[in-house]
């Protein structure tokens, strides 16, 4: 199946059905997952997916439909449904295809190495991750070790004559290890990702899961207080992801962002620099163009403490009298594009973890947070989330702690991120974020 042909036909079918403009996103992918437990394959899965999504404009109205049949009849049906859906929408004078479409060359999105790996080798890799975790003294269980990969192709066509496509590969693995027993049982997660399995280091992934669990053994509830908090890279990435969401022009224009009207202002400590970069060759969300055909680019968001810009798709850009920043994102062909982050990248600083602890003096090192999506109010920015980690005493990492919450609000927190760690890493949990550990000057810690 030629995806570009299917996308072009879908676009033409939408115009024939009465659309004034149309766009089609066609997609095909294969993916594999290996899950091992106790030295055996627990499950082995293969998936083949394909589908097309059509956005049809009728004047200032737009509608969306999708389906799994890429044949001529199938795409025509989807196109017709999209055009019909458009009738029920209210008019939106800013809706429409991008004024300018294009592509940016992003090298090495697809690795040929992936195809060279047999299923057997992938199983071996997952088993090696599990062994690496079990090998650490004190690990009582490895709940699972999982290897996954995907190879996908996309084509986008629109009625202004744009047609483009790309292929990308992704491989990732994780393990979840336990240390301790019964009520004292602690868990740790280790992850790794890249374009193919060759870059995944089983020792590092399994070892990380084990060490994160072992570090928490014997954890107690700390006393409630206000103190400096060091967020490890996983946790820092989660918070930066929330801030990225608040910088979407969609959230700003809908009155749902605390950053509305604050472009150009000092909103953060100068130590914190953040960019959205859809062109980083290592970024899981990198691609030559966004979900509606605007060329991918890098957009600096926070620099020298100032908020430089919001993130725009074609519609929000038109409304604001700006240019799209290439941030129309799609989860799959099953959903229309919407404004979102690509890869959020936090510029690394100078301090290693010991240095951050020294700067914190007396405080808390947080290695895990729970309840983020319920504990952060995306509108007011206030948050209170469950956490675990270690105490920082006299500038050094101390006893493990659990059953506590950390609370602040995102706007205040940005202003007191007073030091940035040197070791940045990709964190593929939810959004794609590359972050180092961060030292936050003060947070409310609630324990006993």
């Amino acid at each position: 199946m030629n995806l570009a042909v299917a996308a072009r036909r879908a676009t033409e079918a939408a115009l024939s059905a009465g659309a004034t403009d149309a766009e089609a996103w066609a997609e095909e992918s294969t993916s594999r997952q290996v899950r091992v437990y106790a030295g055996e394959v627990e499950s082995l899965s293969d998936a083949g997916a394909r589908g097309v999504g059509v956005r049809a404009f009728v004047g200032a109205r737009s509608g969306y439909a999708y389906g799994t049949d890429l044949g001529d009849g199938g795409v025509a049906e989807v196109a017709q449904a999209a055009r019909q859906a458009a009738e029920v929408a209210d008019e939106d004078e800013h809706a429409g295809l991008p004024d300018q479409s294009g592509t940016t060359a992003v090298p090495d999105l697809a690795s040929a190495e992936l195809a060279a790996w047999s299923t057997g080798r992938k199983v071996e890799l997952a088993l090696a991750i599990e062994r690496a975790a079990r090998a650490r003294e004190g690990v009582t269980q490895v709940e699972n070790a999982v290897y996954s990969d995907a190879e996908g192709s996309v084509a986008l066509a629109n009625s202004r004559g744009f047609t483009a496509g790309y292929s990308a590969t992704q491989a990732w693995a994780y393990a979840s290890a336990f240390a301790g027993e019964g009520a004292e049982l602690m868990t740790g997660l280790g992850v790794g990702l890249g374009r193919d399995p060759a870059v995944l280091d089983p020792e590092a992934i399994g070892g990380e899961a084990a060490e994160r669990a072992l570090a928490l053994v014997g954890a107690r509830q700390p006393e409630s207080r206000r103190c400096p908090v060091v967020l490890d890279a996983f946790v820092a990435a989660s918070f930066i992801g929330f801030i990225g969401a608040m910088l979407s022009a969609e959230a700003v224009q809908r009155g749902r962002s605390l950053f509305a009207g604050r472009e150009g202002e000092h909103v953060a400590d100068p130590a914190l620099a953040v960019a959205d970069d859809g062109t980083d060759p290592d970024g899981p969300a990198s691609a030559p163009f966004d979900g509606e055909g605007s060329a991918a680019r890098r957009t600096a968001l926070l620099e020298g403490g100032r908020l430089l810009t919001f993130l725009f798709d074609a519609r929000t850009a038109r409304k604001a009298g700006r240019a799209s920043t290439g941030n129309a994102t799609r989860a799959s062909y099953r959903s229309p594009p919407s404004v979102g982050t690509t890869n959020l990248i936090v510029e690394p600083g100078a301090e290693d973890l010991d240095g951050l602890a020294r700067l914190a003096g007396d405080g808390l090192y947080v290695t895990d947070v729970a309840g983020l999506h319920s504990g952060v109010n995306p509108v007011s920015g206030t948050f209170s989330v469950g956490a675990s980690g270690r105490l920082i005493e006299n500038g050094e990492l101390g006893a493990p702690v659990r059953e506590l919450t950390i609370a602040s609000d995102l706007v205040s927190m940005l202003k007191v991120v007073c030091a940035v760690g040197a070791e940045a890493r990709w964190v593929p949990l939810g959004r794609s974020v590359k972050a180092p550990p961060l030292l936050v000057g003060e947070m409310a810690v609630s324990g006993s």
């Binding site: 437990y37 083949g48 939106d92 729970a370 209170s384």
Partner: protein
């Protein structure tokens, strides 16, 4: 409508078992859906979709082999069956004879949502917007969403199971923003079920009104207290507490890996004797109900806590075989692109004798958590966290100031043991539960429940 004829299903299972396997299964599904939203006074994002696909699974010993495919044509199904069989190394097995897929006990859908004109759905959203704005002058923004879905499911397996289910769900949700000076607060509410458009026949706009009231209330909220306090948890969505703190720990996959604090505790006392809890996927019309689960087992009521004692785990076929018991009808999957795992359906505490007012009157200084924004638990330890979306202080036996930014932190076993009152006002709310990357509709519910002491985390120093 039949997706896969029994004769084709038989051939698929034969091919899947060509190199051995103790159990082979074909799960086929047709999905269609429509959704529409209103934001900033504008009806937008109308979208519809249709998908068909299947999953072929072969189980051998402790391993399962799965293949997923978009499409249910003969060539799609046979290709995926062959590819799954490639992973095995045994002797060919024969599947049992299959009959026609027997339809499961259905739930009445009085008005098919797909037959309702899209314009009426847009009108419903506009009416919700108007109601939210009429609730208070400080309401500044409303976002309302409508979704409908229909899933036709067929399950065939090599033990002769042939079952089908026709599932229709509708859901309305509202998120309302209120503003006063620099302060911005949000309130949400939802209404939905395993039912049709008839669910929205009487005053559906109350969803928007309730969301607006929550947002307006929060404008007067004080910062949450910090510390260990008695907590009264509200009915309906308050059941997220049971779902997270207990229910996930009863799912047999985690139990069998000793990744649950409830492993090995069947028969043990985990709560006072006036506490009983169920998982029930057969409650008519409720959000988490289906006729069969996604392995073809009829849904049913499972008593998980009986008068304070832990009485059952929640099983799918695989984990039930391992423990030598029957599946409890909890093998659920998000779609044909996912493997079934033990999941809750509608999980709730049985109603007790008290009234909500009596529970509150017994607290001198405490916290009233009416509704949660969501929650999370580490099943291995039972440690949980809940974000409270609507909460109040309790002072001198009375509900006083609204509170914002509160979080409840605790441990499932400790919280169960600390329950000291259950009211009679059971209600089931509509949640989505995410586990192992799969999102399924889950009913959460309970009557008002009081817990002697929980850690309340907040922003007040």
């Amino acid at each position: 409508m039949t997706l896969v004829e029994p004769a084709l299903a038989t051939r698929v299972l034969e091919r899947a078992l060509a190199r051995g396997g103790e159990l082979a299964e074909l799960y086929a599904e047709a999905r269609q859906g429509f959704s529409l939203s209103l934001d900033d006074r504008r009806v937008e994002r109308p979208q519809g979709g249709r998908e068909r696909g299947a999953c072929v699974r072969v189980v051998q010993g402790e391993s399962s082999y799965n293949g997923y495919v978009d499409g249910v044509e003969e060539e799609d199904l046979l290709r995926v069956a062959d590819s799954v069989a490639q992973a095995l190394r045994g002797e060919e097995r024969r599947p049992a004879k299959l009959g026609a897929a027997a339809p499961a006990k259905g739930y009445p859908v009085l008005a098919r949502p797909e037959a309702v004109e899209a314009g009426r759905k847009a009108e419903l959203l506009r009416a919700c917007d108007a109601r939210a704005r009429a609730t208070g002058a400080e309401v500044s923004q409303a976002r309302v969403g409508y979704t409908e879905s229909r899933r036709t499911v067929e399950v065939y397996n090599s033990e002769g199971r042939a079952a089908s289910d026709d599932r229709t769900r509708v859901r309305l949700s509202a998120q309302v923003v209120a503003r006063r000076n620099g302060r911005v607060e949000t309130g949400t509410d939802t209404h939905g079920g395993h039912a049709g458009w008839e669910l929205f026949e009487t005053d559906p706009e109350r969803v928007a009104e309730r969301a607006a009231r929550r947002a307006l209330t929060l404008l007067d909220a004080v910062d949450a207290p910090i510390g260990r306090l008695p907590v009264v948890v509200g009915n309906g969505f308050g059941g997220v507490l049971l779902h997270e703190a207990v229910g996930h720990g009863l799912e047999a996959d985690g139990v069998q890996k000793r990744a649950s604090v409830y492993a090995g505790r069947l028969g043990e006392r985990v709560a006072p004797d006036f506490v009983t809890a169920y998982d029930d996927g057969s409650r008519q019309g409720d959000w988490g109900s289906d006729g069969i689960d996604d392995e073809g087992t009829p849904t049913r009521r499972t008593t998980v806590i009986e008068e304070g004692r832990l009485s059952s785990y929640l099983y799918d076929l695989l984990r039930a075989r391992r423990d030598g018991v029957e599946s409890t009808g909890n093998g659920r999957r998000e779609s044909f692109r996912h493997v079934p795992v033990p999941r809750m359906t509608n999980t709730f505490f049985a109603p007790g004798e008290a009234t909500p007012d009596e529970l509150i009157a017994g607290v001198d200084r405490g916290f009233y958590a009416v509704s949660f924004g969501g929650g999370q638990v580490e099943p291995a330890t039972g440690d949980f966290v809940f974000g409270v979306s609507e909460g109040y202080l309790i002072e001198g036996g009375r509900v006083t100031a609204p509170v914002r930014g509160a979080t409840l932190v605790g441990n499932g076993l400790e919280a169960l043991g600390a329950i000291d009152g259950v009211a009679g006002d059971l209600e089931i709310a509509t949640g989505y539960c995410v586990k192992a990357g799969q999102s399924v509709p889950a009913g959460v519910g309970q009557p008002h429940v009081r817990i002697r002491e929980l850690t309340v985390g907040g922003t007040a120093a």
